[in-house]
């Protein structure tokens, strides 16, 4: 009896294997996915407990393309895009439209309400009435100014083309360069494989620059001495991955970092020492392939995300 059971079970198993072969060969659906594609889906998922932000407002701009976003002291929103700048109030209502003829890639606003635009290899200064105030010298034939920040009398510009940060005075005089590789002072040099290179001034007045190829943030003195840095290279939600990330960042009012990435499109918050704190927006909220999610933070600590694919300004607030 026992022997019979053993034989029957073994034969059933054997026939199951034959059935598996038949099913697998004839009836399994062909795999439609590209076998050579790098699958990022699992990496798009994050801890829902960390998703403490919600999108509270979004508005369109009248610009054909959008590249940069900034906030002034009156909480007005400046968006730089194709051949112009559009200015909105904090509710997203258009206040001004400026035609700049050329297309700015980056934007900042100083305390006097002047608009600083990074246009390819140089900086231009405009006022709200659409008048060009100044045009600074070209930074070089390969320069691409991807970010501008103002602190007192200093203007900082990030040049992704030549992988360096410039420090100017208010009149556009170049004072010094920051971040050039120098083993003597332990400055590692910026690694920038794609034209996303951001910098910012923290609320306590320090200059921070992204070193995207190293997945790190570096804090410099205005003279170019490297003070500290933190880095977070990881495929998981907690870190930055790919060739070069984060692509953009901004500071919350309590000096926390808000970062955005490309490849796996997401916006997150980090503590000043690089501890991952929260998810602002997940990859599912963006079109796949969105790049250049520029960021700004207003007085109410709302996070403004420039979505260049949907051509929207999207505002996120803590739940």
């Amino acid at each position: 009896m026992k022997q019979k059971i053993i034989i029957i079970s073994a034969i059933i198993l054997l026939l199951t294997l034959v059935a598996f072969m038949v099913k697998d060969f004839f009836f399994s659906k062909p795999d439609n996915t590209n076998p050579y594609k790098f699958e990022l889906d699992d990496l798009r998922k994050g801890d829902t407990a960390k998703a403490v932000f919600t999108e509270t407002l979004q508005f369109k701009t009248g610009l054909e393309e959008i590249h940069g976003i900034a906030i002034d002291l009156e909480n007005q929103i400046y968006v730089a895009g194709k051949e112009g700048v559009e200015i909105f109030n904090s509710a997203g209502k258009t206040l001004y439209k400026i035609n700049t003829r050329s297309t700015p890639q980056s934007i900042s606003v100083n305390g006097n309400g002047y608009i600083l635009l990074g246009i390819q290899d140089h900086i231009e200064i405009w006022n709200r009435d659409g008048k060009q105030i100044a045009r600074w010298n070209s930074c070089g034939p390969e320069a691409v100014i991807t970010s501008i920040a103002v602190q007192g009398n200093n203007v900082f510009a990030a040049d992704a083309g030549q992988k360096v940060v410039y420090r100017y005075d208010k009149q556009g005089k170049l004072l010094n360069k920051i971040g050039l590789k120098d083993p003597a002072t332990s400055v590692p040099g910026f690694i920038i494989p794609s034209p996303y290179f951001d910098l910012g001034i923290s609320k306590d007045g320090n200059l921070w620059v992204v070193n995207p190829g190293r997945h790190s943030f570096e804090k410099y003195t205005f003279d170019g001495a490297l003070l500290i840095s933190w880095s977070k290279a990881s495929m998981a939600m907690e870190g930055f991955c790919g060739c070069c990330n984060p692509s953009n960042f901004a500071f919350l009012n309590d000096s926390l970092f808000v970062t955005s990435e490309k490849g796996i499109e997401r916006v997150k918050i980090y503590n000043t020492d690089g501890t991952f704190m929260a998810i602002v927006a997940t990859p599912y909220q963006f079109e796949a392939g969105t790049k250049g999610l520029d960021l700004a933070v207003d007085k109410q600590n709302r996070i403004l995300v420039l979505d260049p694919v949907k051509k929207l300004i999207r505002i996120f607030q803590q739940k």
Binding site: I7, T16, F25, D31, N32, P193, G213
Partner: protein, 422 residues
Amino acid sequence: MKKTLAIVFLVFLFAVQFMNSYAIQRFPKPEFESGYVQPETLLPNPRAEMLAILDIAVLIISLSVVSWLVIKKRNRNAVFWMSVFALAYFGFYREGCVCSIGSIQNVTLAIFDTSYLIPLSAIIFFMAPLVYTAFFGRTFCAAVCPFGAIQDLVAFSPQKLGSRLNAVLGVIPYIYLGLAVLYAATGTDFIICRYDPFVGIWRLDASFGMFIFGGILLVVGIFIARPYCRFLCPYGVLLNWTSRFSRKHITITPAECIQCRLCENSCPYDAIEMPVTTKNPEDKGTMARKLIFITILIPILMLAGGWVGSRLHEPLASVNAKVRLAKQILNPVTEKNQPETFEIEAFKSAGKQQSQAFAEASVVLHKFYIGSWILGGFIGLVFGGLIAGRMMTKHRTDYTPNKGTCLSCVRCVDYCPVKLPK
């Protein structure tokens, strides 16, 4: 001792396989400026010709040694250690490639596709075991084939299946062989390799599905000795046919069978045939009637099989890449959120015309139509042979190994009390 060795070996194998099944993908962070120099992309060199010749030499030497051990020495222990060597060399060192079983497909493809350049080693791995079998029986299966060797290691508690069950399950390898030839001849797939249960074990990199497949086969092999050899192996079919006509073959007894019945249950593969002593031999009339019946039945079964096969040629062809592409072009996936299939994407980017894809598919379909007739006819013939075999009464006086199904393992020899004087 052998049993313990086998258990330790299997536990190790499964542990390694299990770890592999759960490996995850990751990629390193790129380096751009640390002085790292990208190495030149190198293509792996083809296997050195000398090593291919070494494989052939090892095959021929192994076949010769095992045949000598089986036919002349009748030494089970030595045969066992030769099978361990085969497992190590053809299994783990050569990672199951080139293998005689899979070489059926290379040979078929070479016959039907003149642009396919078949490696010499594939031809020799296909031919040599058959030639040796024609002379000495299935000595290749005894201790040269790594598939047989690994299954032999786990055959701890083989059960008798009975002749009917053996006969019915024994049809599967014929169907498998027919399909393997059809798919190789049409350039569709090498299904023997696709469903090679042990290659993942040789290479220690089985996918989870194939790991389970191979694992279950080995578990089944504890109770049904060598299940792959007996009920799946398509090359076994060719060896079985050839072995029936072998000039020499292992015998249980070295001299006269004394009908002691000691060997009756010694074969783990149910390959020993009992003596059949018919008390009332069939009269000539009955014999003639049976013969006429079989001669009529077999062509009918072949025709019916061929007809059924031809009706199935489209489903059979549906796994061919060209036919599948043409089908997808005709009925693009309309389901929401379903991306365009990878094949269509590739087809579009190659800038080919739709008509070209349809023309290629119809050539393949025609091949399948003819192939399915032949396959169906072949399966009809197999069933006919099965019925004929069961109808014809045999006459046997001794316990003898069935020349077709005996794997020349030499186990039964030790049970025979008749010994030749040294």
